[in-house]
């Protein structure tokens, strides 16, 4: 009895979380522009989506920024996590604490601080500033993901490599990198999702000539809902679902 109640409770929470998304996806196939009633199956919202030039441009922009920022953040963050693990340097603890603070700090504060920074430097907000901002908020997630795996390693491995005459770079390249690969892939995929979905930081750091999908959706929704947005949201959700699931499986399989 108690067990049934527990399962019931869990089920209720999952229903609460998933029913809205499920309905969104179902409605993206509904053959009616305004009615909430089911009018039959259609793919026309998806074909309209593909035909919508500015929307597709924003989609491509989003993908490019997500790819570029996640790759850059992954390279920087992996090196950073390794440095935090391997080397002692002044400010190491402070910096590591700072990385946690960046991860927890409200998006809006990061958004406006970068906006002010770019304006003071005289940089025009656009693709470049957006990229820099996305790398900045992805970086801590990569560092933490990689660091949590690296800190479980046996330190003797490094000593053996050093004894056998490997340089730091060789040791990193041939020993650390392969062992860290699952965490690096997970960090990269999570960064990709973060970048693709971000609204708040992007809102402040991109300019009027470089539109990205979440901001486009935001401005479209403010004007009212359209079935095309349902289709678009369904695609975005599916994309995040795939990357998050893969990231999760990669870290779980290799533990």
């Amino acid at each position: 009895m108690k067990k049934t109640l527990r399962y019931l409770y869990l089920a209720c929470v999952y229903l609460f979380l998933y029913i809205p998304i499920l309905i969104l996806v179902i409605y993206s196939f509904n053959d009616s522009k305004y009615s909430t009633n089911w009018q039959g199956f259609t793919l026309s919202w998806y074909t309209q989506l593909i035909a919508d030039g500015p929307l597709m441009e924003a989609f491509v922009n989003s993908l490019v920024i997500a790819f570029a920022s996640s790759v850059s953040a992954t390279i920087l963050g992996t090196l950073g996590a390794f440095a935090f693990y391997r080397y002692r340097f002044p400010g190491r603890k402070v910096m590591y604490t700072f990385i946690y603070i960046v991860m927890m700090s409200p998006d809006i504060v990061m958004g406006i601080s970068l906006l002010m920074f770019f304006i003071i430097l005289g940089m025009e907000t656009g693709a470049l500033t957006l990229l820099l901002a996305h790398i900045t908020f992805c970086l801590p997630f990569v560092v933490v993901t990689v660091f949590s795996r690296i800190s479980g390693f046996d330190r003797n491995i490094i000593d053996v490599a050093k004894d056998l005459g490997a340089t730091e770079l060789q040791m990193f390249r041939h020993i650390m990198l392969p062992m860290l690969m699952p965490a690096i892939i997970a960090g990269w995929l999570l960064s990709f999702t973060l970048s693709l979905d971000d609204v708040v930081v992007s809102f402040f750091t991109t300019g009027p000539y470089f539109e990205i999908l979440p901001l486009k959706i935001y401005s479209m929704v403010r004007l009212g809902i359209k079935p095309e947005i349902n289709a678009l949201s369904a695609v975005m959700f599916l994309l995040s679902l795939i990357t998050v699931t893969v990231a999760h499986l990669v870290t779980k399989e290799n533990r």
Binding site: S35, T36, H248
Partner: protein, 287 residues
Amino acid sequence: MVSKSGFRNVSIGSTLLWITVFVVVPYLFVLVFSFFQRDPEQIVAAVFTWQNYKDIFSPVFLVVCWNSLILALGTTVITLLVAYPFAFFLGRIPERIRRILLLLMIIPFWTSSLIRTYALIILFKANGIVNGLLLSLKLVDEPLAILYTQTSVFIGLVYTLLPFMILPIYSSIQKLDLRLIEAARDLGATSGHIFLRIVLPLTLPGIIAGSTMVFLPALGLFYIPDLLGGARSMLIGNFIKNQFLTTGNWPLGSAASVILTLIMCLFLYVYFLSSRKARTSGMGEMA
């Protein structure tokens, strides 16, 4: 040896430099600007003033602040009440099913809260699903106005932030040493006593981490009231956004951001204290 020190410096330097340039320096700008005067022509004038902070604690802002704080606090309490038993029950599910259920919680944690907010609009609108259901069940005679009310903002915040409360609590419950509970039970402690004296203190870090991850976004996520609340409800996030994009009052917006950052630092400090306490008391009881 050159390549050794070269690689060392590059690996340390790259992250350090990035964080310094794109986080530390911009944050310092915010801090400095919060003490500057507003200047209609050049945005700010480099004259020291406390005025922005005085303005923030003025009645006008406090009304906004109060509303936002109540919403954020309410969201934190509700998500906590839902999440705590949830995380507990989830921990008792057999391993195989639990792994799938955990993934189902991680997915909304990472997917766009904008899209999840949008999904709520479809549900709530006057001719939406919820009203259709209520009408057909004859629970209401005419469509309820759910969208563009304070209630829908509240539901929106709870809906988007719930996973952020569940996952940290779940991970702290997973770390709980069940032998402590057995030992307490053997020594004759009641269930209530065990919960208050052992379970709660040891899972406190998870509760605080979760509260931080819910409370702060609940103050800052400006697009949720924008989309669900119409013009009536406003978060501190909306206030900050308006200072930068509409009013052009950077110093005031900066001061509000500094306050938000201070709240975060307070949360992180409490988290640090509670996790240290949980660690030492856990070990003390084991010894």
